[in-house]
Subunit: 238 residues, 2 copies
């Protein structure tokens, strides 16, 4: 079966967590909105059928249409061994993913604290205030949480959040570190010293052959100023 | 087995979605932080064990400690018949719940657009701008989405989002309507006219005997100015 991923073709965004999972398991998939006419197809189809999505990404898997990033990963994780086989292990992996989802919302709101529908330029002072708080309080809290989880999971040997094997939560944590380095390079350089295990997961995921091949390929859309992780020097903290 | 729910004892907040599910199935549970010393116990225990939580709520279910609201509902839904039995039906219910989670984040940020750690009084102008955008663009988009889902689900006869039976997503939609009525009474009065099916789900859930008994009991914490849904008249739109 060939999966069909529907997500904006110009950005990594939330779709990237799904792309990383598909790439890591070597799945056969098509990134629909990167094909000619694909974005129109995505928008037309999104609201149709018995399980419409509120927003991209969504994944067509045979007859299933699955929306919400973490939900797609729940499905793929179980199907492709990117999550433990036990019910308890699957819930735990999903819990970590949902916490990453919460973090991603906060990242987005650093440059759009007032409204996603307004330009960044229309909310710059607010973005500065929100980013300062985000870097001072939220980033240490989130990264500290994942650091503690890694520290407690002896089976993972510092390279996996859950058990001994890589899960979709590890792939997502890789993306968080990569994105933070792009968006807040100065603040992240300092923060990384305090969270070596988080960085180690990033490095372990980056070294996985399929992820390395993907990141080096044109299939990986570069970070840019339209995505969730954006680089505005004035929002970074030295 | 007696469940132990860990959530702030003074607010409905995110814990309320779990409370509604536990109440609706008549589960034996204890709301730990509402007992003497319970909040301390919640905070001490939260970061311990093999599956620590980033924040409340979390649920102790036998040996399991499950965090993240939607994840807890995924577990309870399967266990107590508050979700379909099929894998596809469970994914769809969870997708709807995750969309409600996204909405709840946006509700919170109407009064805290800059930082959750600052007082509302320190971000009032920003809260006004964010709330205006929220009411004009986001509320119709979200409620319109759920209205369309209800319209398409003929089996639910306008009273259920998924199939013919009540799921945890319906209980959560009830809470969203109740909360919006408290936080934005004027705007909600107008909005409800456009989303009669959403209101019908609220009413159907409110009429369920266990939910009615719960809402009328002292176990239901009243809406207040510390929770996620807060009433600030200056943020409401007439």
């Amino acid at each position: 079966m060939r999966y069909e991923l529907y997500y904006w073709g110009e950005i990594q965004g939330r779709g990237e967590y799904v792309r990383l999972a598909l790439e890591d398991v070597g799945a056969d998939y098509i990134d629909v909105a990167r094909q000619p006419g694909g974005t129109d197809k995505m928008m037309r189809q999104m609201e149709k059928g018995p399980t419409p999505s509120f927003a991209p990404p969504y994944l067509k898997a045979g007859k299933l249409m699955i929306g919400q990033t973490a939900n797609i990963l729940l499905y793929l994780g179980e199907k492709h061994g990117l999550a433990p086989k036990t019910a308890a292990g699957r819930l735990w992996t999903h819990q970590l993913q949902l916490t990453i989802s919460d973090f991603v919302v906060e990242v987005h709101d650093t440059h759009h604290p007032i409204a996603g529908g307004l330009y960044y330029e229309d909310q710059k002072p607010e973005a500065k205030r929100r980013s300062a708080d985000f870097l001072e309080h939220r980033v240490p809290k989130y990264l500290g949480y994942f650091e503690a989880v890694l520290n407690a999971n002896k089976a993972g040997k510092g390279r996996a959040l859950v058990g001994a094997r890589t899960t979709y939560a590890d792939l997502s944590l890789f993306q968080v570190v990569a994105g933070m380095r792009y968006a807040f390079p100065q603040a992240m350089r300092k923060a990384e010293r305090k969270f070596p295990r988080v960085v180690a997961v990033h490095d372990a995921v980056a070294a996985r052959p399929r992820i390395r091949a993907y990141v080096d390929s044109p299939r990986r859309i570069p970070f840019n100023q339209m995505g969730i992780f954006r680089y505005y020097p004035e929002l970074d903290a030295g």
